[in-house]
Symmetry: C2
Subunit: 431 residues, 2 copies
C-alpha cells in the first residue's frame, strides 16, 4: 500500500520536516544526540562494518582492475575512528544554537501592526554526493539540526554502506519519536533525475562531486542548486613575500590534500619575488610535485614547460603551474580570467599590497599569508559544511547550517488596510 | 573606438562598480544626493518632460487603438509629483546605513590567524522591468547605494523617457566624479537576450513584469535570476473572523490596486464564517468586484460560478474567487496546492488558529488580520524594493538593499598551514 514514488516520498518528507520545524528546539537537539549514540552502538557498528566491508571489497577489486582510484577506496572505508569522529561531530552540532524561528528583524509599522522577519528551514533538501558513507550522518545531522527534511543519494560504490547508515539513522529517529520519512535514501541515476524535476517539493539541491557532474546537475535541475563546479585557486607571491613562509604555505596548499577543491593549482609571482619562487619550487620538487612554468619562470628555475591550457587546469593532483605576472595588477587580471572565485591568496610582508589584493579580488575566500587549505567549514569554525559554494547568492564559500535556513515575513495586525496609509493619510512609524 | 558591445559595456560597468565599492561610504551617499538634486533641476525636468510627453502621446494613441491598457499609460506618465517623490526617496536611501564592508562575523582561529566575513556588493546587476520610467532612479539608487554597477532595460513604451532619465543620472554621476559606465542602458530584446548569457559578467538578474515574461527570463537565463513569476495570494476567513474587519480587509486587498502581485485572488472560508463571508461579498460587489464562488459559496450568497481554473488564476483585475474549505487544514491544503508562496493571510479573532496558520503556511509573507497589500518593501520599512521574491534562496519577499549584497570570507595570517592542525597537533581556538 506504500506509495514509494519519488514525489510521494518527498511529500512525506516535507510533512515530517514541517513537524520537526515546529517542534521545540530540544527535539532538534535530541535527534542528533540519538544519532550519535546509534553510531556508537556495537550492534549498529557490526552491521555498518558488514555492509561497508562488502562495498570496500568490490571497490578494491575495481581498483585492482584500474577502474577506481586509491583515493576513492580510502574515502569509502568506514573505520571505528571515523565513526567516533562522526559521533563527536553530531554532539557538537547538537550543542550549537538553534537557527529555527529566530527573530531576525522586528518593526512596529503602526500601532498594533507588527512585522517580524523570522528564520525557518528551507524545507526539503536534496543532496547528491560522492562515495563517502561518513558524509551521510554529517549531512543528515546538518539538515535535521535546521529543521529540514532530506533526500540523499551517494556515490554508487557506497550503496550498501549508505543503506546501512540510513537504516541506523532511521532507528535513531524512531527512538526519539520522529518520522523516518524525514530522511529518504535515493538510489540510481533515474531517481536523481526525478529529484531534480521536483520543483515545489524540493527546495534546494546540493551537488558535490566532480566538476562535470556538478555542472550537469546545475544545468539540468529545475530546483535551485548550490554546488561548486570548480576550485581553481591561486597564490600570488608578492615581491615582499617571505621566502620561507612562501615555501611552507605553497607546499601545504598543494600537498596537504591535492584532490581538494581548496588546493592551490597555480602560483603567480612578480619580478622581485625570485628568491621566494626558487625556495618554493625547490620545496615542492622535494615533495614530488611536478611544476610547470611559463617561459619567464623557466628562465629563473628548472621546471617543465606550461602551455596555455595549464592556466585553466584544476589538476587535483601533485602538479602546480607557475606564471610570472606584471605586479599586483597582472595577478588580479590572471585571477579574474582563470580563477573560479573559490579561494585566492596573497603572500606578502607589505600590508598595503595585501590590502589592495583583498579589496580587489572577487572570490568567496580571500587570504593573506595563510594556506588556501583553510577554506573549509570545519576550519572556519562553522561546525561542519555541506559543501563550498562559488556562487554569490544565498551562501558563499563554506556552507554550514546557516546556508540551510531561509526566512519568512510575519505581519500581525488588527484589521489594518493599506489604503489608509499615504500622503495626507496615516503614516507608518518608520517614515 | 568605443567598444559598445554588451560584454564590453558590462566589463566597464564591473570595473566602475569595483571602484565604487572600495570608495569611502560617503561617496555612495553623495552620488544619491546628486541624483536627487538632478531630478529637481528645472532644465533636467524640462528634458524629461519632453521625452516623456512623446512616449505618452504614442501610448495614448495605442490605447485608443485598444493595444495598451489605461494602467500602462498611467504608469508611464512622469509627473512633477512623481519626480518629487523620487528625489525624496533617493535622499532617504542616502541617509540609510551603508551595507558595504560590514563585518558580519569575526573569529580568531588561532594566534595571528583571523577570519572575517564581510559584506560586499554582488557586482553587476541586470534589471529588466516594465514600462515605468520612475523605476529607473529607484533601481539605480538601490544599486549604487550598495556599490553595484547596473545594466537596465525597461519596457519599450518608455524608451525615450528611460533614455532621458539615464542621461540625467549620468550627468549626476559625472558631477561627483564617478564613471557613467556604472549605469548601462540596454535597448531591445536582442540586448536582453545577450545580457542573460553573460555568466561571469553579470551577477544577478532581477526580472519584473508579466508572469509569462518573468518565467521566460528564469528559464533562459544563464545568470542567477530573482523574480516573481506570480502572486496568487489567499485570505482565509476563520470561523472567528470579525465580519466588519473581513469586509474591510478583503476589499482593500482586492481593490486598492488589483494589478499588484500582492492583491488577493482567492478568498477561502470555513463553515462558521458565513456572516463574515456575506458581509465581505456584499462589500466587494458594492465596489464593482466580480465574485465567483464554488457551489457551497453559491448556496450562501449570490455570486457567479467558479470553475477549477479559477483556483489557479491570477486575475490582476476586479475579480475574486471564493472557495469553501474544510477548516484550517483544508485552507492549508488549498494554499499548498494553488498558492504561489507570495503572501497568505488569515482573518481570525482566535489567536491559536492564527498561530497554527502562521506556523504551517509556506510563503514569503504570512499575515494575520492585515491586508495582503502590506507585502511591499516600502510598507515593510525597507526603504524601497527592487521586486518581491517568491523564491526561498538568497532573498525572500520584498527585496531591498539587503538583497543586493553578498559576503566574502577574509583570512589574515602569518604563514599558517593547515597540516599543522589536527588530532595530536595544534588545535583551533574555537574547538
Amino acid at each position: 500500500m506504500n506509495d514509494s514514488s519519488i514525489p510521494a516520498r518527498l511529500r512525506a518528507a516535507k510533512a515530517a520536516g514541517l513537524a520537526l520545524s515546529h517542534a521545540p528546539p530540544g527535539e532538534r537537539r535530541e535527534v542528533l544526540l540519538a544519532m550519535a549514540d546509534t553510531l556508537c552502538d556495537p550492534a549498529v557498528r557490526a552491521s555498518l562494518k558488514q555492509a561497508n566491508d562488502a562495498d570496500v571489497a568490490d571497490a578494491e577489486a575495481a581498483r585492482a582492475r584500474g577502474e577506481l582510484s586509491d583515493a576513492l577506496v580510502r574515502r569509502l572505508v568506514l573505520t571505528t575512528a571515523k565513526l567516533d569522529v562522526l559521533a563527536e561531530g553530531l554532539r557538537q552540532l547538537a550543542a550549537q544554537d538553534d537557527l529555527v524561528g529566530r527573530v531576525l528583524e522586528s518593526r512596529e509599522l503602526d500601532d498594533g501592526l507588527v512585522l517580524r522577519r523570522e528564520s525557518c528551514p528551507l524545507g526539503v533538501l536534496g543532496i547528491v554526493f560522492e562515495a563517502r558513507p561518513d558524509a551521510v550522518p554529517q549531512i543528515v545531522g546538518l539538515a535535521l539540526r535546521t529543521g529540514n527534511a532530506i533526500a540523499l543519494k551517494g556515490g554508487r560504490e557506497a550503496t550498501r554502506s549508505n543503506a546501512a547508515m540510513v537504516d541506523a539513522l532511521h532507528g535513531a529517529l524512531e527512538r526519539v519519536g520522529l518520522d523516518p520519512a524525514l530522511v529518504a535514501l535515493l538510489e540510481g541515476r533515474a531517481e536523481v533525475s526525478e529529484l531534480l524535476e521536483q520543483q515545489g517539493l524540493v527546495d534546494l539541491v546540493i551537488a558535490r562531486g566532480s566538476a562535470g557532474f556538478v555542472d550537469h546537475v546545475m544545468q539540468t535541475s529545475k530546483v535551485p542548486v548550490v554546488g561548486h563546479a570548480e576550485g581553481l585557486c591561486h597564490i600570488f607571491l608578492h615581491g615582499s613575500a617571505d621566502p620561507a613562509m612562501a615555501a611552507a604555505v605553497v607546499r601545504d596548499a598543494k600537498t596537504d590534500y591535492p584532490a581538494a577543491c581548496n588546493a592551490v593549482e597555480t602560483l603567480l609571482w612578480e619580478p622581485g619575488a625570485e628568491e621566494a619562487l626558487l625556495r618554493t619550487v625547490e620545496e615542492l620538487q622535494a615533495h614530488a610535485v611536478t611544476v610547470r612554468g611559463c617561459e619567464h619562470t623557466r628562465a629563473v628555475c628548472p621546471v617543465d614547460e606550461a602551455t596555455d591550457a595549464d592556466w585553466d587546469a584544476e589538476y587535483g593532483d601533485l602538479v602546480l603551474s607557475v606564471c610570472r605576472v606584471d605586479g599586483l595588477g597582472g595577478a588580479l587580471e590572471h585571477i579574474e580570467r582563470h580563477g573560479s572565485r573559490h579561494t585566492e591568496c596573497i603572500l606578502a610582508a607589505d600590508q598595503s599590497a595585501a590590502d589592495q589584493f583583498i579589496a580587489r579580488v572577487d572570490a568567496a575566500c580571500v587570504f593573506h599569508n595563510a594556506s588556501t587549505r583553510f577554506a573549509d567549514g570545519y576550519r572556519f569554525g562553522l561546525g561542519a559544511e555541506v559543501g563550498i559554494s562559488t556562487q554569490k547568492l544565498h551562501a558563499r564559500g563554506p556552507v554550514g547550517v546557516g546556508g540551510l535556513v531561509t526566512y519568512r515575513w510575519l505581519l500581525r495586525g488588527e484589521g489594518q488596510v493599506a489604503s489608509d496609509y499615504g500622503p495626507g493619510k496615516r503614516s507608518f512609524k518608520f517614515s
